[in-house]
């Protein structure tokens, strides 16, 4: 199994989030990413630096068994509604401001341990998620929770976590048992 999160994973996560509508989106997630490139090129809300910050954030948030590259982040975030993209961009600015405040460097240039330290120093780990709250609350909502949602609703990510269902199959009792490690 290739643990690298792909555009297909990102699209599946988007579908699970209700961004796509039913069957057409599911079908889209099964396709190659040719059709997505055009739309990605039109996404101007997030700069290359913004995406680099998101990829750097996935290094902290995701299990080490999973690698999320630029294409995964671009596909997932680039296909969110524009308001969400704008909010994500603002939260990235907040995160970079905090990284400069505590370390003097941009978030993406820090080591994984330093990124984790900056998040904790900001209080992101003790904040409650709020899309319009304080910077730590917005970062938790728009960045941390969004990226974790993308991971666990993607086929590869959910497989790593052991909570996957076959696409088109709702799961059922067996899949719920699989989600409880102590009964494996």
């Amino acid at each position: 199994m290739d643990p690298t999160l792909s555009r297909r994973d990102a699209m599946a996560a988007l579908v699970a989030g209700g961004i796509g509508i039913g069957g057409p989106a599911l079908a889209l997630s099964e396709r190659t990413s040719e059709g997505l490139n055009d739309r990605n090129a039109q996404s101007v809300a997030l700069s290359e630096d913004d995406r680099a910050t998101l990829v750097a954030l996935t290094d902290v948030l995701y299990p080490s068994a999973v690698t999320a590259g630029d294409s995964f982040v671009q596909t997932y975030v680039g296909n969110l509604p524009e308001e969400r993209q704008a909010a994500i961009s603002e939260s990235i600015d907040d995160l970079d401001d905090a990284a400069r405040r505590y370390t003097g460097s941009e978030f993406a240039t820090l080591s994984v341990g330093e990124r984790d330290a900056v998040l904790r120093r900001m209080g992101v780990d003790t904040a409650n998620s709020d899309p319009s709250g304080t910077p730590p609350q917005r970062i938790l909502y728009h960045l941390v929770n969004s990226l974790l949602y993308a991971l666990y609703t993607s086929p590869t990510g959910s497989r790593v976590a052991g909570i996957e269902n076959p696409i088109g199959h709702p799961g059922g009792y067996e899949s719920q048992i699989n989600a409880r490690p102590e009964e494996r």
Binding site: D97, Y102, S105, E114, D116, A117, R120, G123, N128
Partner: protein, 285 residues
């Protein structure tokens, strides 16, 4: 203060500011330790240099915070909050030395005995509690950040940095000429049982503990929601934490409570001649 003293104080403050900026820049701000919270070496300098050098050290460290933020292109309203909390950390440590009755050694902070180490730990903890409370309150004012979130985020790093960096720096400071050390006798210690002792010990601890518990309780109750609590017969619990009344996370209450606590602390420490112990010289230098 005559001209030569003023010049010396200015030079010491400038040297401390330069040292703070250099350490903050060279260390990269935060150093990740194998276990526990990250270490902020520059922040760890504040308390020992203030203990050794007095107000000049405090001013230097505070200026160092502002200069570091400027060099990092991170100047903001939060810089004022950071600088204020660093000033509180340094100045309270300086003033607390010799105040705490159970642990006071009655000598300058040289860390040359177990008693001095214990006094250092007690003074550091109280100064950190005050500084973190002020920092969390400042972030509440500037950013609207929940008090417990800001306090719990700052407390581990400030404590670890102070306790790990402080002792070695104080030991190294023994090499500083005696003329630069702030004489212990000039610290106008306060006596237990006076308003000063309450302002130095009880108020900061109360601020941090009550503020954190209030913030956690309000956040928890507001997360559950009034409707859910009412359905289970606990609607009365929600009333004092209603966001329309106290704000999200009881922010409005925290603002007033923090203002009262800060006023009590300032009232304690703005009194420069609270020398209740005979044989000591009270100086405002």
């Amino acid at each position: 203060m005559d001209a030569s003293n003023w010049r010396q104080t200015t030079l010491v403050a400038a040297a401390v500011a330069g040292l703070f900026v250099a350490v903050a820049t060279l260390s990269g701000g935060l150093i990740v330790l194998p276990v526990g919270p990250p270490l902020d070496p520059a922040l760890g300098l504040v308390l020992p240099l203030s203990l050794a050098l007095g107000p000049a050290g405090v001013v230097g460290a505070t200026a160092g915070v502002v200069l570091t933020a400027a060099l990092r292109s991170a100047l903001a309203l939060l810089t004022v909050v950071d600088a204020g909390s660093v000033a509180a950390l340094g100045y309270l440590a300086y003033r607390l030395w010799g105040v705490l009755p159970a642990v006071a050694t009655g000598r300058s902070p040289r860390l040359d005995s177990l008693g001095q180490v214990i006094e250092f730990l007690a003074v550091a903890l109280l100064a950190v509690v005050t500084a973190v409370s002020a920092l969390a309150w400042g972030q509440l004012l500037v950013q609207g950040q929940l008090f417990h979130s800001a306090a719990l985020a700052a407390f581990p790093t400030v404590t670890v940095s102070t306790l790990l960096v402080g002792p070695p720096v104080l030991l190294a400071a023994r090499g500083v000429p005696d003329s630069l050390w702030q004489p212990y006798e000039d610290r106008t210690p306060v006596e237990r049982g006076t308003g000063g002792f309450r302002g130095a010990v009880l108020v900061p601890v109360c601020w941090l503990v009550v503020g954190t518990l209030l913030s956690v309780a309000a956040t928890l109750v507001q997360s559950i929601g009034g409707t859910t609590l009412a359905q289970h017969g606990y609607g009365f619990v929600f009333v004092p934490f209603d966001p329309a009344l106290v704000g999200a996370g009881a922010r409005r209450v925290q603002v007033v409570f923090g203002a009262v606590m800060l006023s009590l602390i300032l009232a304690t420490w703005l009194e420069l001649n609270r020398n209740t112990q005979p044989g000591r010289c009270a100086s405002t230098s």
